[in-house]
């Protein structure tokens, strides 16, 4: 069944050649009814839904390929190893890293940041040194650095943001000094939607010989990312935010940097040889992958990347931008809606507040109409403080969302007002 609104998307977007109704059929969860109404899933910044191809790939792995990887001489182990390692190459190609060994599998963005803090940070950050982040980081790109700085007697410095939610670029040169040992910044803010000029910041940092980690958790599913073009030193993302499973993520690191830093955790697989006198570490990336990894997760991630590429990230970015424009126009037409984060370069995500009504109540009421949004501080309390709000409502879109769903959101917001009339 094709709703008229979906057709409308279709017509306007003929040149984009994205067939939303076709795409929606690939995501089994989207047919779910919530309290008797069709699910309107607008919480994609928290986690994305999974296409059937990902779900089936994970099933197939467990049904016919499951074995522990590496060092196995039997058939299944070789198959599993091959499947797992082929995803490393897929990820390499996806973000255009130079070599597969620059791709480290981790649990997610959070673990990737912690890994860099505990390895690179441990040997490079000392008393009086500084780590530079931005005022719009997710807690996972704040707390690991705070912990490191506290331990080392170093200082955490912060690039401020404007009222529109953009980084104050002019402040960056002054915040970079000989004491700065690392810059760690988000590519796209999960609380504001701002797309940051990371390439520019990387250039400024590199002029001073400072490496840069980019938190790509919100970026990879929504725009093409090329780590060589960005020239970043580390890049982190989570599988579950790019239509893959939870529990798998990626840390990209420049090979020479990864080689220079110590291992993260100790255990099996990360060693070349062990005696009680001395252990020699394995080469990269295995040096950072102690223990049995999330094999099924990596394989599922591979299927997710295949899916995204079959749709095409350029098309995805254009379609989502169209959704963002549509939603922004609709929400801006109400005087009682305040949109937080109005940067000109934005991902398809809108943080907003309904005047006089707490986001938590908005979320509960929207849920009655099948609309799933996130309400709260979005793990970015400093952003909430910066804008003087305790929390926001966040609607975040993916390419399977439609303008019809945005209409449902707007209509349900009317119901919220009615309750509080």
């Amino acid at each position: 069944m094709l709703r008229p609104e979906v057709l409308h998307d279709h017509n306007e977007l003929n040149d984009l050649a994205i067939d939303v109704s076709r795409i929606r059929e690939d995501f089994p969860v989207l047919t779910t009814l919530v309290k008797g109404r069709p699910l309107v899933y607008l919480d994609n910044a928290a986690t994305t839904q999974k296409p059937r191809s990902v779900i089936e790939r994970i099933c197939r792995y467990y049904e016919s390929e499951n074995a522990n990887i590496h060092r196995g001489v039997h058939h299944l182990s070789m198959m599993a190893t091959e499947a797992y390692e082929s995803v490393r190459e897929k990820v390499r190609a996806f973000i255009n890293a130079r070599e597969p060994r620059e791709i480290v599998f981790v649990r997610g963005t959070t673990e990737a940041v912690n890994l860099v803090a505990r390895t690179y940070g441990a040997v490079n950050v000392g008393p009086g040194d500084e780590v530079l982040i931005t005022a719009m980081e997710h807690h996972s790109n704040i707390v690991p650095w705070q912990m490191l700085c506290e331990e080392k007697g170093a200082r955490l410095r912060v690039i401020p943001i404007t009222d529109r939610g953009e980084l104050v670029l002019d402040a960056v040169p002054n915040l970079l000094s000989q004491r700065t040992k690392l810059v760690s910044i988000t590519h796209i803010s999960n609380a504001l939607g701002t797309v940051n000029p990371v390439a520019e910041i990387i250039r400024l940092a590199h002029e001073r010989g400072i490496p840069v980690l980019v938190d790509g958790a919100q970026a990879v599913a929504h725009m093409p990312v090329d780590v060589q073009e960005l020239d970043c030193d580390f890049y982190a993302f989570s599988g579950h935010k790019i239509f893959g499973p939870t529990g798998i993520g990626v840390l990209y690191g420049r090979a020479d940097l990864l080689e220079a830093i110590p291992p993260y955790q100790g255990g099996g697989d990360m060693i070349a040889s062990v005696t009680f006198e001395k252990t020699t570490y394995n080469e990269i990336p295995y040096k950072f992958e102690a223990g049995t990894p999330n094999i099924a997760g990596a394989i599922g991630l591979g299927a997710a990347l295949d899916y995204v590429q079959s749709v095409g990230l350029d098309k995805i970015a254009r379609y989502e931008n169209y959704l963002l424009k549509y939603a922004t126009e609709r929400l801006s037409s109400f005087d009682d809606i305040q949109i937080i984060g109005q940067a000109p370069e934005k991902a398809a995500l809108i943080s907003f507040n309904l005047h006089g009504i707490h986001p938590h109540d908005v979320g509960t009421i929207l849920d009655q109409y099948g609309v799933a949004v996130r309400t709260g501080h979005h793990c970015a309390q400093p952003v909430m403080d910066r804008f003087g709000v305790p929390a926001t409502v966040r609607a975040s879109f993916a390419f399977y969302n439609t303008t019809h769903e945005i209409d449902v959101l707007v209509e349900a917001l009317g119901k919220v007002r009615e309750v509080f009339k």
Binding site: I357, H358, H360, M384, P390, A391
Partner: protein, 154 residues
């Protein structure tokens, strides 16, 4: 899109009224007990101030920013507890807790809750239970102890 009937059970008129015009919403300068409560999940913050007269709650007020459920819960709590003894307050909290966690479906029992009964809809919304109990946990912390205490419902 028709208004969902369930919603009215959660957001009863009395709750909306107390959200818009919270009672006893002020800091109490001469409080002899106070505590600070936060719900880390949603960032709700509430401060509860109590002035005792012997064993009796002479005055109780609150301040802070929260959602409708937590604001109305705090507001009604201050109304219900004024003039109650510590033992009575403790008993009311227990009953209220049973109500919002769905353990008190018995109508006879519910009658004893008086106007707090407007929170009977909360038990259908598990993630909102903490909103309703935050002011009460904070009050309990104030009554039980240190002059200033931070409680978290987590």
């Amino acid at each position: 899109m028709t208004a969902s009937p369930d919603l009215r059970e959660l957001y009863q008129e009395v709750i909306i009224d107390h959200t818009k015009r919270p009672r006893n919403f002020r800091r109490l300068d001469n409080a002899d007990r106070k505590a600070h409560g936060v719900n880390p999940l949603c960032g709700d913050k509430v401060e509860v101030f109590v002035k005792m007269n012997g064993d009796v709650i002479d005055e109780v007020t609150f301040h802070g920013a929260g959602c409708s459920i937590s604001t109305a819960s705090a507001s009604l709590m201050t109304q219900v507890l004024k003039g109650k003894t510590l033992a009575e307050a403790r008993e009311i909290f227990e009953k209220f807790h049973d109500l919002v966690t769905g353990k008190a479906k018995d109508p006879d029992f519910q009658k004893k809750l008086g106007k707090l009964l407007v929170f009977s809809g909360v038990c259908e919304y598990p993630v909102r239970v903490k909103c309703a109990t935050l002011p009460w946990h904070t009050l309990k912390a104030a009554l039980e102890g240190e002059a200033e205490k931070t409680v978290s419902t987590e």
